[in-house]
Amino acid sequence: MDFLTLYEFILDRLPESLDLEWLAFGIAAATLAFLVFNAVISATALYTWFERRVLARIQSRLGPNRWGPFGLLQPLADVLKLMVKEDTVPDDADRPLFHLAPIILLVPGLMVFAVIPLGEIPFEDGSFLGRLNIGVLFIIGITGINALGVFIAGWASRNKYAMFGSMRAVAMLVSYEVPMALALTGVVIMAGSLALTDIVIGQNVIYLVTQPLGFLVFMTAASAEMSRTPFDMVEAESELGSGFNTEYSGIKFAIFFLGEFMAPLAAATVATVLYLGGTRGFDPIPGQIWFVLKAFLVILGLLWVRATWPRLRVDQIMGFAWKGLFPLALFNMFLVAIEVLVFQDPDTGAISNGELWLIAGINWVLTVLAVVVLAQVLGQKRLKRPVPVPSPLANMNAGSD
């Protein structure tokens, strides 16, 4: 479904004499927004069930399995419970901001889906706003608003834990924007366009194969952006109780919850488009199914990391962004830029498939090298510890002689 076709379809059915272009535009936009909004929210509700079940299996538990087949109706029950709960506002809260924060946090997650191209190559149907000529910039900009929502929530609550959480959030989210944007630069250089449709079309060899380092940096930065373990210090349950959303209850908490669970979906779809070739796949399976499968795999990877790893400390998280990811992202960017310069056909600007595979070979070797070198510089295992020697301060065997 294309926005423009819908717009013209509606315009044709309106009386021409009245000059109702604005109305047609509005109806088309509202229809599409309604569709995307509901599809994404339903998907998120299902995803909460999926995440809880997968985490439970990893932790040798059962997970929600009571309500509906396999517990599939559990999200419904959760939402219902949260909706009928009392909606409390702290006395000292900054009320307008307090009410605004959940919305600010939810909307960027939804807006990301507007530019995701879900159609089949060559995207004659347009795929919503997939052809937006600044698609990648749009995604970076929109996800940056997240930090604002978290900070407003923490500030407006007048709660010390919430304040801690939001101060951490601002520092962290701003830091991780940098490596993320640099990683995406590699994709943009190779595709030669900021539009997501062009990026998908450009992936004759998917970018996961040609730019593994970029994918690595992007996924790490993305999991920091949505503050999941090992970067979940914004909510850090064991330290801050619940972090920035401590004071929220009822439907406002449900919206936070929704935004939190929408983030991995958004990150997975963006990663699928940018690095896994979007709707590319083999016949006879339609491209949309391929897209969902790829996003599913990315989400599974994110969940696996989330279930296994502990959290880094505040300073370690910042250090990792600037000492670890930043150099890797820069390295990847220059590597891709040089390779594109060397292998590009000077007349058409295209890179043949054979050359792409050559680039992939070089990049995989360099990626492994870069990661190993970084692990040697930043890693903990190189640090040797003294051999335990019994202290002379106490002699356990004194009485036995």
């Binding site: 985490l55 990893i58 932790q59 040798s60 538990r61 010390k160 834990y161 801690f164 999941r228 373990t229 090992p230 979940d232 210090m233 850090a236 349950e237 064991s238 330290e239 109780g241 989330r306 279930a307 296994t308 790893w309 502990p310 959290r311 880094l312 400390r313 505040v314 300073d315 370690q316 890693g379 903990q380 295992k381 640090l383 510890r385 003294p386 051999v387 335990p388 020697v389 019994p390 202290s391 301060l393 106490a394 356990m396 065997n397 009485g399």
Partner: protein, 368 residues
Amino acid sequence: MPIQTEPITINLGPQHPSTHGVFRLRVTFDGEVVLDVEPVFGYLHRGTEKLAEERSYTQIVTLTDRLDYTASMTNNLAYVRTVEKLSGIEVPERASYLRVLCSELQRIASHLISTGFLMQELGTFGGTPLMYCFRERERILDLFEMLCGARITLSYMRPGGVTQDAPEEFWGALNILMDEMPGYIDELEGLITTNEIVLARTRDVGILTPEMAIDASVTGPMLRATGVQWDLRKADPYEVYDRMKFDIPIGSVGDTFDRYFVRISEMRESVKIVRQCIEQISAGPIKSDTPYFVRPEPGEAYAAVEAPKGELGFYIVSDGGISPYRCKIRAPSFINLTVLRDLLVGWKMGDLVIVFGSTDVVLGEVDR
């Protein structure tokens, strides 16, 4: 214009996910850095020591279950040993073996909880290692259920022996568990000990020096992590520990990682001890002929055992009646908590939680 800043004081607890019960830490932060810590406790005070003064010696066993509720067996053992010492009761050999066996199983269970919750505090979402620890602990609790019908508050021991002999199926299940346990511990270590993030978070964090530990009379894995090799099972062998061959694992630095690692190593040693118990135990009575109402001669006695958390001692004064005149409990958690301030000042909020977790306190024992 210089930015005006001031320290912020936060009450961590008594309702907080990382306080192991109802415990309050009044912490002053400069940003993320801890400036001052003041532990506030007493929220779980149930007057155990006072209650003991109006219970008969046998009834007090059930009170001791609720001290360190993750390690009831060793609480029972410390108490009944004191009563036996006070009134000169002999314990049959089979009962002694059963007591040692149960203490070591309890030690494994307690260390599993400690390790699991430390990982929870390190931030593994939903506590994957915690769930793994609980899976193994569940097997041990099943064994306890076969022994005495209870799983947590066991009351298995009595002055003069234990309540009942182990049923036939117990030994089979125990053998299977002991065969599988080293594999479980390896699995746990594979998940934790080599994890880069765990190393980054725990190494050289919250260092306790041997001098500090001895000055504060810290005992148990916390003391041994500093490199002081001191374990009552070797230093002052009780029951049949003198017939067992086992090592006392120690740490080198005394940081959070050492405290974790000493516990893991102790679990392996406990498996060895249980194995030796299974080999050496012989048939015989499980309880000496002790009256229900024990009436010790007027006098006093102190006996201590190496509980999972440290030296757990009971000091009982008798006036010749059926209940103690005074019953003082030396709770290891409480005394290990006294070094908390020295461990925490200067570290960050994330460290505060894990250092507190690695001291492995149980509030039932701290507040009594």
